[in-house]
């Protein structure tokens, strides 16, 4: 299974969901596939699940999606315990697990290339609806179906290492520009003011 084909399937189903990515290949691929105003491309590893959790709690009627990587989740394993207890029903996490730090350019293996099983860790942390997906047909059935369900879902998508993200254009949207586009989109679609934006 290739990450890009999973993202293509997700991109075709986006309407008013909020999509939070961490920094790695999926951030580049997603920004190339989707120009939606509800995308927030967090610029570093290990922060996307936390930011998405805060959004999911603040906007419980809104579906929030995380596109994350094995390296990023390994950097923030405490998120699993918090998600396992909060269980926000409107949050879906996709971890694209290729078993390497591909952004390092030396593709050094992550712990999931060895003995570590993120799905088992998520379940043990209290995320009952955690699954490993290895085939694209399974992603279509389970992964995509979760978008229409009202339950925290955590998918570890076992993907082949792909270097496609090194070939496609990197996003040129400044982080602050992305933030304001995202917040203005929320203000418009939620019909409320986000307080910190303020008035000049």
């Amino acid at each position: 299974m290739i990450r890009h084909e999973c993202l293509e399937l997700l991109a075709a189903r986006m309407s008013d969901q909020l999509v939070i990515t961490s920094q790695s290949g999926q951030r580049i691929e997603w920004s190339h596939l989707s120009k939606h105003e509800g995308n927030l491309l967090v610029g570093m590893m290990g922060c996307a699940i936390g930011v998405a959790t805060g959004l999911a709690l603040a906007l419980p009627h809104r579906k929030v999606i995380v596109l994350d990587s094995d390296g990023s989740v390994l950097l923030s394993l405490f998120n699993l315990a918090t998600l396992g207890n909060l269980r926000p029903k409107n949050l879906v996490v996709y971890v694209f697990d290729n078993g390497v730090y591909s952004g390092s350019r030396i593709s050094y293996p992550t712990a999931t290339a060895g003995n570590t099983d993120l799905t088992a860790m998520a379940r043990a942390a209290g995320i009952a609806n955690a699954h490993t997906i290895r085939e694209i047909e399974d992603f279509k059935k389970k992964g995509i179906a979760a978008l229409g369900q009202n339950e925290l879902a955590f998918f570890v998508c076992k993907v082949e290492e792909s270097l496609l993200h090194r070939e496609i254009p990197r996003p040129n949207t400044d982080l602050a520009e992305n933030k304001y586009t995202f917040v203005r989109y929320l203000e418009r679609t939620e019909e409320k003011t986000v307080p910190f934006v303020g008035r000049g």
């Binding site: 939070i20 967090v42 570093m44 936390g50 959790t53 918090t82 910190f196």
Partner: protein, 168 residues
């Protein structure tokens, strides 16, 4: 901290617009946790790490909440990465409510805390995070409002360091 001071601190947070608090408990200010938990106008979220407490607060702020993170000052060290890449780099205002252990005004200071306290302000300054030191309840509510206003204006985290009477 006397119960009355804890009540004023929580009311001060509410008056400043705070309606969402993430936290890891510590000793100095811990009386505020049940007060926030029992307040129907505030949402209290337990985190497993201060790094995560910061990112959840950042997400909630982007979603329209006014968020604070309650932590010990050791949490500043733990969360410095997420403070930098989500709070500062992305530019999201959150209020840090910090039990300031090991500083000179800490009334329970000891060899356990002194090293922790010594480096807190240099680390905040290194991160470019503004802060205010509070040792007593004089003007407490106004100071919290000032801090939240500064955070919003700068689109950045702002730290309130509680010691002195707050550390009794």
């Amino acid at each position: 901290m006397k119960d009355e001071l804890a009540k004023r601190l929580v009311q001060g947070l509410k008056d400043a617009g705070i309606n969402f608090v993430t936290y890891l408990p510590e000793t100095r200010l811990s009386q505020i946790v049940p007060l926030i938990r029992d307040d129907p106008e505030m949402e209290l979220i337990a985190a497993a790490s201060e790094q995560e407490a910061v990112t959840i607060a950042v997400g909630a702020t982007l979603g329209g909440k006014q968020a604070a993170v309650y932590m010990e000052n050791t949490g500043i060290y733990v969360s410095s990465y997420s403070l930098l890449v989500t709070g500062k780099q992305l530019g999201v205002p959150i209020l840090l409510v910090v039990g300031y252990l090991g500083g000179v005004p800490d009334q329970r200071n000891s060899f356990l805390y002194a090293t922790i306290g010594k480096h807190t302000i240099p680390v905040l300054e290194g991160l470019g995070i503004e802060y205010m030191l509070l040792n007593d309840g004089d003007g407490l509510e106004g100071k919290i409002k000032d801090a939240m206003r500064a955070a919003n204006a700068q689109r950045a985290p702002y730290a309130l360091l509680f010691a002195g009477e707050f550390s009794i």
